[in-house]
């Protein structure tokens, strides 16, 4: 049951083969049984979930249901959920119960989905291994000694282990795609502006984008139907009409032009991962696609550029966590300065403090031009690279990450190695284009994700391409052994 697709479950719910309450209980039981091994949830909202499931059953009985009605899903603990603890993986928000609902979670709720709980994540979405959470590291369901990726590691692990049908994630530099790749699920980072950021606790506002994480492209499409679209509460939300993400899933791929950026296959890429990606590309050729080499010459600059822009924005975005109105406040502050410094020193973890420091430095007087402005110029070059490449081909394919999931603790003391994990994903956020991670095979029993990058607002196209691939492969249907234990 836990391995079924959204479409199948929706059918079974409509046919009264199962009720949403039963389905929700099933997943809550699985969370109870298996999550102690994974630590993928920060909050389990079981009472609320059962209430929503009851309401969903009523809606289904009344014939007023959508494909998400009654489907149990999980939300990354970065989306504000009214009256439900929202921590962003931080001690700073250990006591934060939002008085409002984010646009994404509200739209999914209105579509009738059931919220099982809030998933673990790197603190304030800063990390590539989910080891930066105040609530402890998340384990990879394929190997409990390995990281699930980050920052949406909880969502990825929960979906991979069958603790939720699907989940939401957010992606600032790869935080949906990399954990999707590491955990063998399908994830989509939409075009910047496609999904509202209202109610998403900001890390780097010009890069953050929410998106779906699920077992298949088709399931992602179901979530996108609800999540995507203009929101007048987010000034950076796009007024471009949203597409029907389900309508063209079955369009044939004959004639599809795929670009392989040579920079994605150079030094640093694990040879077996490279083979896996090339095998996936071969599969597309069988489906009628043509392949050519393209170039993204400024790829190497995406890491320094990203690690100036994102921390700069973060240093400002995280200023509101000052102990004055919400969140952690230190005990017995002597004076205002003491309250600020101790509340923030106690509330923020090491990685967050590091990025606030870097960002504060990059924006300070005398350094702004050399760092922030320069990084923005590089960002423009990176964007032009993608625009040029996408003039030649329909989509760009490559690996999501240089390796499969690495061992817990193996990179925590080497920040540069950790930052290099994001080399293939960061540039997509800097350019603002959409990209997916699609399960494409295994290396040493660990999943490998294929990255598919497309033009602005080409989400439907990406989902179509991924879906066709998944109609002809079964990598996305594999289930980790631990998930079968309950």
């Amino acid at each position: 049951m836990f391995e079924q697709s959204i479409a199948t479950l929706a059918q079974q719910l409509r046919n009264k083969e199962i009720s949403s309450v039963e389905l929700t209980r099933l997943f809550l039981d699985r969370i109870q049984a298996l999550d102690p091994q994974l630590n993928s949830f920060i909050t389990i909202s079981d009472e609320l979930a059962l209430q929503q499931a009851k309401a969903a059953d009523t809606a289904i009985a009344n014939g007023s249901s959508s494909s998400l009605t009654g489907i149990p899903i999980a939300h990354k603990d970065l989306f504000c959920t009214q009256d439900v603890l929202t921590t962003c993986g931080s001690k700073m928000l250990n006591n934060f119960i939002p008085p409002y609902e984010s646009t994404v979670t509200s739209r999914i709720q209105q579509a009738g989905a059931v919220m099982l709980g809030k998933t673990n994540m790197d603190e304030f979405a800063m990390g590539s291994s989910n080891e930066n959470s105040f609530y402890g590291a998340v384990k990879n369901p394929w190997n409990l000694n390995k990281v699930p990726g980050g920052s949406s590691g909880g969502s990825a692990a929960a979906v991979a282990a069958g603790l939720a049908v699907a989940a939401t994630g957010t992606d600032t530099g790869g935080s949906i795609r990399q954990p999707a790749s590491f955990c063998g699920i399908t994830g989509l980072k939409p075009t910047y502006g496609r999904v509202s950021r209202f109610g998403m606790i900001a890390y780097a506002s010009s890069l953050d984008q929410g998106g779906p994480m699920a077992k298949s492209a088709e399931d992602c499409a179901h979530l996108m139907q609800a999540m995507a679209g203009f929101d007048d509460k987010d000034s950076t939300s796009s007024e471009t009409p949203k597409e029907d993400y389900l309508a063209n899933l079955n369009a044939p791929l004959a004639g599809l032009k795929i670009g392989l950026p040579k920079e994605y296959f150079g030094d640093g890429l694990d040879a077996k991962v490279a083979d896996t990606i090339m095998a996936a590309v071969k599969e597309f050729e069988k489906l009628g696609a043509t392949v050519k080499e393209v170039s993204l010459p400024n790829l190497q600059l995406s890491i320094p550029s990203y690690y100036v822009i994102a921390p700069s924005e973060a240093s400002s975005n995280l200023s509101r966590f000052d102990g004055v109105r919400f969140g952690h406040r230190c005990d017995d502050p002597k004076d205002l300065l003491d309250m600020y410094t101790r509340s923030r020193a106690e509330g923020f973890g090491t990685e967050v403090q590091k990025r606030i420091m870097v960002g504060t430095y990059a924006l300070s007087e005398g350094y702004y031009d050399a760092y922030y402005l320069k990084a923005q110029k590089i960002r423009r070059l990176i964007k032009e690279d993608f625009v040029n490449a996408l003039n030649e081909v329909d989509v760009i394919m490559g690996p999501v990450a240089p390796t499969t999931a690495f061992d817990l603790g193996s990179k925590t003391n080497d920040p540069v190695a950790m930052y290099l994990e994001d080399i293939y994903t960061l540039s997509v956020n800097l350019a603002g284009i959409p990209a997916m991670s699609v399960p494409a095979g295994f290396v040493d029993n660990m999943p490998v994700g294929l990255q598919i990058m497309g033009n602005y607002f080409a989400e439907a196209k990406l989902l179509n391409i991924a879906h066709q691939y998944q109609q002809n492969t079964d990598w996305h249907l594999q289930t980790p052994t631990m998930a079968k234990g309950a």
Partner: protein, 481 residues
């Protein structure tokens, strides 16, 4: 040493939009703390700003009024600093690309001379909340009602050379923003606040001296006084061979002195950068032109029109047009009595006197323009004379009714019937036969002085109601015998 003062002003003008600059919360003064707030004003995690386009329209109006370049692409930037009443830890403002660029104002001084003050820029920004230190037993209360209230910060060039010029400039800005209807101009409630940058240099020297900035001065009078005391303070230091420290100072009106708040060394590095939550504002020429075409009449235009249309003197026209409320009052009253000179004299004279005594603004006058016009109409048609009219105005002020009601009730109507005046005069002449004899025997020169006695007697007998314009010639004729 002969010092020249160099002044530049930053005026924070609160725009009178219905809702805040980045949220739908209402803007208002005096509401219960934290009742006029949304998630955005509270700086809630995940909340995002949405720009209020009404503030944009107002800023562009102001740009046109000061002959400025309009920023066709303007960008909001974050000014980062920590303060408890700054909920997001940054103020959203504009830095490199303000909505209003270079402009200028020709400021008319009291002596009638005009000086041009350059305006560097005017930019949109959000206000912070308020910290309340009283009533919390050693703790501080935070009220975020004012958070995200729209401000237009108007920055002048260092073109101002005296306290008088500074006040005239601020008054002119005040008059423009109230004329445009983009600010209520209420300085007591903080709708206009002024930062004064001031330095001294020996007369004739090109180079500027070290300046200080006096923060948040909120009345015309305090601006003038703060400037005088700061000039004196700086001159004392310089003349003793000392150096001015670049710093931020505060003016204390009770002690009439400025005090140091923080020095340049303590100044924040605000780490400005473009706000990633807001898109650049890109204007079309059509939008800018349309606002220009619909700009209301400005003070200087109104003064010119008052001279040509109503034949008023340059002085009267400027005084009456100095505030939109006074100009509107004048025009409304004049419409009733159709005598611009009479109306101008009475608005600037008797009415202003009463308003000053009660410390009321003309907009809050207990006698409205229409009622005032009716009173003046009764002077014009000789129903009452000027002296009686002052009494009637006082009664109207005290709420006793309209001019006509008071004139009727108190029987103040002037006697204009020739027969009645003649019989009144005859009674006086009969009762003062000796004086009449003296008069008739006197030289014409002396007669002119002596006639005043009889006029006085007649006016007294008529209880002031006899029309003096009629009494004089009739009396002169009857005295001749």
């Amino acid at each position: 040493m002969n010092w020249e003062v160099v002044i530049g002003l930053e005026i924070h003008t609160q725009l009178s939009t219905k809702s805040k600059l980045f949220s739908g919360a209402a803007v208002g003064f005096g509401a219960e703390p934290n009742t006029q707030t949304t998630l955005v004003d509270l700086g809630m995690p995940g909340a995002l700003p949405v720009f209020n386009k009404e503030a944009l329209r107002m800023a562009v109006m102001f740009g046109h009024a000061i002959n400025a370049e309009i920023g066709m692409t303007s960008v909001f930037a974050r000014k980062n600093y920590f303060y408890p009443d700054l909920p997001k830890g940054y103020q959203t403002s504009q830095m490199d690309h303000p909505i209003v660029g270079k402009g200028y104002l020709d400021v008319t001084l009291e002596d009638g001379t005009t000086t041009r003050v350059g305006i560097t820029r005017a930019h949109l920004e959000e206000d912070a909340g308020k910290s309340l230190h009283e009533d919390f037993q050693g703790m501080t209360g935070i009220d975020l009602n004012r958070s995200s209230t729209p401000l237009l910060e108007i920055v002048s060039e260092p073109d101002i050379r005296s306290a008088k010029e500074a006040v005239a400039y601020v008054k002119m800005i005040h008059s423009i923003v109230t004329y445009l209807g983009i600010c209520d101009g209420n300085m007591a409630e903080g709708s206009m606040r002024c930062d004064i940058n001031l330095s001294l240099r020996p007369k004739g020297q090109e180079e500027y001296g070290t300046r200080t900035e006096i923060k948040n001065v909120n009345s015309f009078r305090f601006i003038e006084k703060a400037i005088y005391t700061e000039i004196e303070r700086q001159a004392d230091i310089l003349e003793d061979g000392g150096r001015i420290i670049q710093e931020t100072r505060l003016y204390d009106p009770e002690k009439n002195e400025t005090r140091s708040m923080r020095s340049k060394e303590d100044a924040n590095d605000y780490r400005y950068f473009p706000c990633p939550d807001l898109l650049p504002i890109v204007l079309t020429q059509e939008y800018v032109d349309q606002i220009k075409a619909n700009l209301p009449e400005l003070p200087s235009q109104k003064a010119e029109r008052f001279q040509s249309e109503y034949n008023l003197s340059d002085y009267d026209a400027h005084v009456l047009s100095s505030s939109r409320a006074m100009a509107d009052y004048f025009e409304a009253a004049n419409k009733v009595n159709q005598d611009p000179k009479l109306t101008a004299n009475w608005v600037m004279g008797e009415l202003s006197k009463l308003l000053n005594q009660s410390q009321l603004d003309i907009a809050n006058s207990p006698v409205d323009a229409n009622a005032f016009g009716e009173l003046l109409a009764r002077i014009k048609d000789n129903t009452i004379n000027g002296k009686t009219a002052k009494d009637v105005l006082q009664a109207m002020w005290d709420g006793e009714g309209s001019a006509d009601e008071i004139i009727d009730a108190k029987g103040l109507k002037q006697v204009t019937d020739t027969g009645a005046i003649e019989s009144m005069i005859q009674t006086i002449l009969d009762a003062n036969a000796a004086q009449v004899e003296q008069y008739r025997a006197a030289e014409p020169d002396k007669q002119k002085k002596m006639i005043g006695f009889f006029v006085g007697q007649v006016m007294k007998a008529s209880q002031g109601k006899a029309n003096p314009g009629m009494v004089n010639p009739i009396l002169a004729k009857m005295l001749k015998g």
